[in-house]
Symmetry: C2
DNA sequence: GTGAAAGCGCTAACAC
DNA sequence: GTGTTAGCGCTTTCAC
């Protein structure tokens, strides 16, 4: 049933002009006399003609496709960021070819290759590690890569993260000022730079005050694992009076366990703080004190780096840190005299 | 810095074979003597050659790209579904070009056009309405369209939804059996087929028991608007003793308002039920009684319809309903003698 | 200004 | 089996 393909050749014939004329009408930069343009546009509309982007890409070498790799949408931070990123790129005339890396744990390289086969103009890689072999390939192919919310010690990548160490340190200071004495940490996946930096900053904050971590378990950035980590922590005799959970998503799991299973009150019996400030953190059931990752600013920075490098291949990769404020809510006891 | 593009021509030259030989090596169906294949593969690996998918698409007429349009990731149901969909399609060798329709309220057509320009093999449209003009274009271009979690009275579309009327009716019966007498409804966006069907089924369930709706406000499927709708409802003198909120996402907002602002207990003072069974519904802070939309089954159905129609253009569009169970948790008073 | 011609990287007939 | 050829739909010199 599919009607015949409508090509520029057909439009040209019908409009009584050359194919190049049609092309020029649909090419933003080109100049065409108003008269011809109108004629061509009219015929094109009648026939429902639209330029074939793929054919154009073949010749221009630009696909206007950005590949986005993201690992898990379970943590609200990521869908939120992808939505913003997609919107921002659309505004610039780009489109997003998405790849979910969740299922394919080991084979990220294989699948990243597939996405590169689409001649993407750039790659955004969120919360996933890239092999240096692949980095090599991207570099050789001239495909700029931006690591989002993760950094890697490789000069070929640009990266955009929040200032995780500074943010976590601020959390430590806040808890200490609140008079907490047994401060514990539930870590995320230990292979992640975000985890490393957050924990590092937090510990630095503690030791600056002459304190040490009371306890530590690992939640791997997953809800269920974080629940288990919380159970472990709170089944011990000497319970913490404050817990820094490495991201909000896990902090919700921890709060649920602590309140429902252990039967403690938050923040009266134990203070819980997280990191990210995802929308749910503001919901009154959690009302979580946390550090904001300004996803808006992070996305803006990502897009800017991307476009700059696409337009000028000689631009050097850039490491960008976005600072984020401490968001004080009700899940942690506040220091004396703290006013809302 | 970008090295020279590695094309099949280059590989052919280096391997001492023809370009077609190279092409055949990289074409799944084609037969090539093992000897040649090895030789070609070796050279290709050395040079880092990979076929240009865009060029291939141009000639085969198949891009192996599926366009996905989705309106808002705020409601966890959608990122979850997109993740599953993307995974399923990847498994079949397709990739997802995503388009977020959130910002572009009015201009959905314009932007859908853009996505079609990429010669997508099919379109999945989630929670968004398509103009009939665009439907026409897709039809003419032979692009199958599957409406996801929304239906439309247009025979040209396939659609996959849960059986919203049946599910909502089940909720009504459950609330009635639980002895509730003042049952209210907080609606989603009234232009949505899901809203229409859910409310219809719910009302049918009520009237089958000789009951009528106690009250009704509108939350438009948005968190903040749902909060406002709940405030309106609970500021009236005669409060409901049960509320069916049109989806889980809004139900969380309603529970927050009811517990934190109004100061009622759930379910002792008021029962709240939702629809979707998103992961958060199982979190103990909400523990929401709801109807499950089996996103897994919905995605499977979507993929199947898609692939069938791609492979055989003559297949007729299909309307699929996926049934989902009532998930009983703690947010609503249970009928006498109900055992867990 | 405008059209003719070449060619982007690839596949698919068709000869050999 | 293998290479030669044509051409997918488009952009882009380059003459006119």
């Amino acid at each position: 049933m599919a009607t015949e393909r409508v090509t520029s050749t057909l439009v040209a014939k019908r409009a009584g002009v050359s194919q190049s004329a049609v092309s020029r009408v649909f090419t933003p930069g080109a100049s065409v006399p108003l008269k011809t343009a109108e004629k061509v546009r009219k015929v094109a509309d009648e026939l429902g003609y639209r330029p074939n982007v793929l054919a154009r890409s073949l010749i221009t070498g630009k696909s206007r496709i950005i590949g986005v790799v993201v690992a898990y949408f379970e943590n609200q931070f990521y869908p939120d960021a992808v939505e913003r990123l997609s919107n921002a790129l659309q505004r610039e005339g780009y489109h997003v070819l998405i790849f979910m890396a969740s299922q394919t744990a080991g084979n990220i390289d294989k699948v990243l290759s597939e996405i590169i086969d689409y001649q993407v103009d750039a790659l955004v890689v969120a919360s996933v590690a890239m092999s240096s072999e692949l980095a090599e390939r991207c570099d050789a192919a001239g495909i700029p890569v931006v690591l989002f919310n993760r950094s890697q010690d490789d000069e070929r990548f640009s990266s955009v993260t929040s200032d995780n160490a500074a943010g976590a340190r601020r959390l430590a200071e806040f808890l200490i000022a609140g008079g907490h004495e047994r401060i514990a940490h539930i870590a995320g996946w230990e292979g992640a730079s975000t985890q490393r930096d957050r924990e590092g900053g937090f510990l630095a904050g503690l030791s600056a005050a002459g304190m040490r971590l009371h306890d530590r378990t690992v939640g791997d950035f997953h809800f269920e694992i974080a629940q288990a980590a919380a159970r472990d922590m709170f089944n011990k005799p000497e319970r913490p009076d404050a817990v820094f959970v490495a991201n909000d998503h896990m902090a919700f799991a921890v709060m649920d366990v602590v309140r429902t299973e252990v039967g403690l009150r938050v923040p009266e019996d134990v203070s819980i703080v997280g990191y990210d400030d995802v929308p749910i953190a503001a919901w009154s059931s959690y009302d979580l004190t946390t550090v904001r990752q300004r996803s808006n600013a992070m996305v803006e920075a990502t897009v800017e780096v991307l476009l700059t490098r696409i337009e000028n291949a000689e631009t050097a990769p850039k490491q960008i840190f976005i600072d984020g404020p401490l968001i004080v809510r009700g899940s942690a006891r506040k220091p004396e005299g703290w006013d809302e």
